[in-house]
């Protein structure tokens, strides 16, 4: 682990990625300490200000400090990313193993389910669900989980299938080893590396999706700050001030770049074979 970290810091892009990610994660976690203002506190007197010593990134139409909102918005982005990718990983591993080790008909059904999800434009699916269920952070997370499960499920299924046909697995099963044991001892350790790489490369996509849905007003409910909702404010105020757009986009762009650079150098270090299926 430490060795991998050391090797990443030797690559310029990996190093940049690591620094960006660590910086943004820390500032989001410490938002309560760093943020100079309450992110939802209204100060109409201070509305639509440009950057100043008091307001590093200016204020929005309700006089809220954009720098503080951006910091708290980072919490939302990271929360969505971690919860949804964690849940998708868990469910994906489960379904992948079932598909790989279960009977043929079950495998076919699961694969059909995966393929159908993948052929749908994610944003359309997200919009339809949000419109039906109503906008909330939970809905966004649910949509992301459903649409990313196939990414992980496929990897696990392939690995399970290849392990399944191994002679020593057949021997172990004959000797009465339980399926759970085989999956836990032989399959899981083999898929963890690729899964981690895939997950770290999915984080930027997920963060962008959350921002996009919040931008469309289908993510977090106001006044909760999210990078997407800050951008939405910026869009409505575009003829008055550029600062909300700049404030909302900088962390979004930096963190997607950071995770992508980090994910790519991780992949190149650990498993260059994965390069083909970017």
């Amino acid at each position: 682990m430490i060795d991998i970290l050391r090797r990443i810091t030797r690559e310029p892009l990996g190093m940049i990625g690591l620094v960006l990610v660590v910086l943004i994660v820390i500032s989001a976690l410490l938002a309560g300490v760093i943020a100079p203002y309450d992110p939802i506190e209204l100060r109409i007197v201070d509305r639509l200000q440009g950057p100043s010593a008091a307001h590093l990134l200016g204020t929005d139409q309700l006089g809220r400090d954009l720098f503080s909102r951006v910091l708290y918005g980072g919490q939302v982005a990271l929360k969505v990313a971690l919860i949804s990718i964690g849940a998708a990983l868990g469910v994906g591993v489960l379904f992948g193993m079932i598909a790989g080790f279960g009977p043929r008909w079950l495998d076919n059904i699961i694969m059909l389910f995966f393929d159908t999800i993948r052929s749908f434009p994610t944003v359309m699916f997200a919009l339809a669900t949000v419109a039906l269920v109503g906008p909330s952070l939970e809905t966004v997370i649910a949509v992301i989980v459903v649409t990313t499960i196939p990414n992980y499920g496929r990897v696990v299924r392939t690995q399970t299938l290849s392990i399944r046909s191994n002679e020593f697995i057949k021997a172990e099963r004959a000797m009465g080893a339980s399926m759970v044991r085989i999956l836990g001892v032989h399959v899981l350790p083999n898929v963890i590396g690729p899964l981690m790489i895939l997950a770290s490369m999915d984080i930027p996509t997920v963060i962008a999706l959350e921002a996009g849905l919040s931008f469309l007003g289908m993510g977090v409910k106001p006044p909760t700050p999210s990078w997407g909702s800050i951008l939405n404010d910026g869009y409505t105020l575009i003829r008055n001030t550029p600062w909300p757009i700049i404030a909302g986009s900088i962390p979004l762009v930096l963190i997607t770049l950071g995770f992508t650079f980090l994910g790519e150098s991780l992949r190149d270090l650990i498993d260059p074979k994965l390069r083909k299926n970017i």
């Binding site: 339809a128 419109a131 039906l132 962008a208 951008l231 869009y235 992508t260």
Partner: protein, 314 residues
């Protein structure tokens, strides 16, 4: 060949039907009566019942689905419950805007991305290659709506080079061109990076193949080797990726159409979803799924046209 096309289209019909059925089930499963939500809290029960009937929601679910496909077969996508216009008219009225936007964006991405990828592959590990590599990743990761916001902010609002809103005057070609530049840039930017990376990788692979060594061993000039012998093979994966990428393109178009207040199928879906105008949602999702099916089939056909090996296996 003909058999392949028939098989492909049959599969497409199955996917479209599956998608529509799923959507019907979702509407059915969701708590709350769509008619009540559409009409608001002060609507009378008679009004709600009438609206339900107009949306076809008073029938049992299987009948609703059968009715939908029955009508579809006659080219009828239902009626918009708010404006009372045929959904088919609305969808096909908006579709050309989205198609033009997508084609312009992808054309623009190909014109820049493919040569960039080739150049990088042929000048591997030079400064330009490395810079292109990093910029490609940056282009891919920045979401389309952020690019749209910035281009709106910089080129339309601040510099006033291009118009900010709409698709341009009907029949005025030059005006429409001016209106499409920024939205196409917003969608195309990430594709420039994507195509550059893809073409670089496949070009490197092709240049290492034996037949390129043969072409060089026969003394063919390097530009012939690159442009006639390698490039055609190197762009083959691009065609597939664009065909499958229709879903991403439609998603990006949705955001872009909203940011630039541009008519199009994405904006239609968004507007009808926010007003819970179900017949319009159905119609536009149906059409975009059909679009997806057509584009993947089309990319297969283009691949077959470019690659004789695929052609003879069809």
């Amino acid at each position: 060949m003909l058999f392949y096309l028939i098989k492909r289209l049959a599969l497409g019909v199955v996917i479209v039907m599956l998608a529509v059925t799923l959507l019907f089930c979702m509407i059915h499963l969701v708590p709350g009566d769509p008619a009540r939500i559409l009409l608001g809290p002060r609507a009378t029960p008679e009004l709600i019942a009438g609206m339900s009937a107009r949306m076809g929601l008073d029938q049992p679910l299987p009948i609703q689905i059968l009715l939908f496909f029955g009508n579809l077969f006659r080219g009828d996508l239902g009626m918009d419950v708010i404006t009372n216009r045929p959904v088919a008219d609305m969808v096909f009225g908006q579709l050309p805007y989205t198609l033009w936007l997508i084609f312009t964006a992808i054309g623009f991405a190909m014109v820049i991305g493919i040569p960039l990828g080739c150049y990088s592959a042929l000048h591997r590990n030079t400064l330009i290659d490395r810079v292109t590599g990093v910029l490609s990743v940056a282009c891919i990761t920045v979401p389309a709506f952020v690019v749209a916001l910035y281009s709106l902010l910089i080129f339309a609002v601040t510099l006033n080079w291009f118009p900010a809103v709409g698709a341009g005057e009907q029949g005025n070609f030059w005006d429409q061109v001016r209106h499409i530049v920024l939205p196409a840039l917003a969608i195309g930017l990430s594709w420039i990076g994507y195509l550059a990376r893809l073409v670089r990788a496949s070009m490197l692979e092709v240049m290492g193949e034996n037949h390129i060594r043969t072409a060089r061993a026969y003394g063919l000039p390097e530009r012939v080797v690159v442009f006639r012998y390698a490039l055609k093979l190197a762009v083959l994966p691009t065609v597939t990726v664009i065909g499958v990428g229709m879903g991403f393109l439609l998603s990006a178009a949705l955001f872009t159409e909203i940011v630039f207040a541009r008519p199009g199928i994405g904006k239609l879906i968004f507007d009808s979803i926010t007003t819970r105008n179900y017949p319009v949602v159905m119609g536009s999702v149906l059409v975009s799924t059909v679009l997806f099916v057509i584009s993947t089939t089309l990319s297969d056909l283009v691949n077959a046209w470019l690659d004789p090996r695929i052609r003879s296996s069809l």
